[in-house]
Amino acid sequence: MSHSYDRGLVEDFGRWREFTAGMWAWIFHKFTGWILVGYLFTHIAVLSTAIPGAAGETVNDVNVYTYTIQELESLLLVRVMEVGLLAVAVFHILNGIRLLMVDLGIGLDAQDRSFYLSLVLTAVIAVASVPTFLEGML
């Protein structure tokens, strides 16, 4: 076929309005998975301040590790992002369980409903966690 028209990949994601449940589940799962990987590195960076902390290093007379945590937790942005992180982790776990069921061939006919269930449960858990994460901030 010397002359033929290739519409390329770009238009795929231009059609997001037409995506079905399984496709959304896939996109959210990849997205949340990579956010968790990103968080893992941030987490390691914060925790690594405990190494000089163990040797007794301080900032303003406070142990450097304690100081880092206190400073971070005093920021509203960090508290809000913690709620987001919980939501991302909960969705990834719930949808991960859904995917494991799909791998085992269990309830494939309900795969769209189990995706919606993951979303609803994630929302409920994230909302329920707000008082805990924002304690003392508002």
């Binding site: 033929s4 028209y5 290739d6 059609r15 037409e18 399984g22 589940a25 896939w26 085992l104 769209d112």
Partner: protein, 289 residues
């Protein structure tokens, strides 16, 4: 035969003096039919306004003003039970004879008219216009090169289908010359849905893994392989079949997006079959003894 044919002629020459009850009945029926026909014609003229707007993808590398892809509008008079294919045929026969698309059986069995209609892969002959929102956007299948208008190049899809050796190939034949290779009812039920594939390519077109990985077998080919892998009359070839399927670009590429299962016009549970073959492939390789 001949005498019967002559009779009406003689009757015409000498019309009966008295009307028989049969004549009255027939005349009454004629009047009723005529009235029906008139009512129908009137209905047709009043609903003439009811047209469906089709926006159809056009492209032809050999025609100068069609080299740049575009959408053409066709206003097709709507009729009850009209399918997208009917509307396309009407548009081609009435408005533009150069409008090109594949079709044959018009009953969802030849698999030649899978199109991208209002954002999803559907068989044009199996899709009622009444189920769609207007305007109806008709495009060729995504992820295949467009040859002309709604016609895509299916060569790669057929290559994938052939890659799984889509034919029965047991060496384990029955003794007698004319003896049948019997299949149990249960086994027939197991492969039943997978035998229904009409090679339309809708599933592979909907799969964004297949779009990004040209070597991936794709849902249709894997389903075809399922049909034979799960056929117990071919038990001696099961390992051979699984060896093809468990390759890097075989079943493991599937990420269970369910897009193929959603669009298959024959309602084949494609994702389920792919997942089952993944488990078969694992079972073949996992040995604890």
């Amino acid at each position: 035969m001949s005498t019967q044919e002559q009779e009406p002629a003689t009757q015409e020459q000498e019309p009966p003096e008295t009307e028989s009850p049969g004549d009255r009945r027939r005349a009454e029926k004629q009047r009723r039919l005529a009235a029906d026909r008139q009512a129908e014609a009137e209905a047709a003229t009043t609903t003439d306004e009811e047209t469906v707007l089709l926006k159809v993808f056009r492209y032809d590398p050999e025609v100068e003003d069609k080299q740049e892809p575009r959408f053409d509008d066709f206003h097709v008079p709507y009729e009850d039970g009209m399918t997208v294919l009917d509307a396309l045929i009407y548009a081609r026969d009435t408005f533009d004879s150069s409008l090109t698309f594949r079709h044959s059986c018009r009953q969802a069995i030849c698999g030649s008219d899978a199109l991208f209609v209002n954002g999803s892969q559907r068989l044009a002959c199996k899709t009622q216009l009444s189920d769609l929102d207007a305007p109806v956007r008709v495009e060729p299948l995504p992820h295949q090169d467009v040859v002309k208008d709604l016609v895509v190049d299916m060569e790669h899809f057929y290559d994938q289908m052939h890659a799984v050796e889509p034919y029965f190939q047991s060496d384990d034949l029955p003794e007698g010359d004319l003896e049948e290779q019997r299949q149990s009812r249960e086994n027939r039920e197991k492969v039943k849905m997978s035998t229904r594939c009409i090679w339309c390519g809708a599933c592979t077109s909907s799969c964004n893994i297949a779009a990004g990985d040209n070597q991936y077998l794709g849902p249709a080919a894997i389903n075809k392989a399922y049909r034979f892998t799960m056929d117990e009359r071919e038990a001696d070839k099961k390992e051979h079949r699984l060896r093809i399927l468990e390759q890097e670009h075989g079943v493991w590429r599937c990420q269970t997006q369910f897009s193929c299962t959603e669009v298959c016009p024959k309602d084949i549970p494609l994702t389920e079959h792919i997942q089952e073959l993944k488990r078969e492939a694992v079972k073949k390789n996992l040995k604890f003894w």
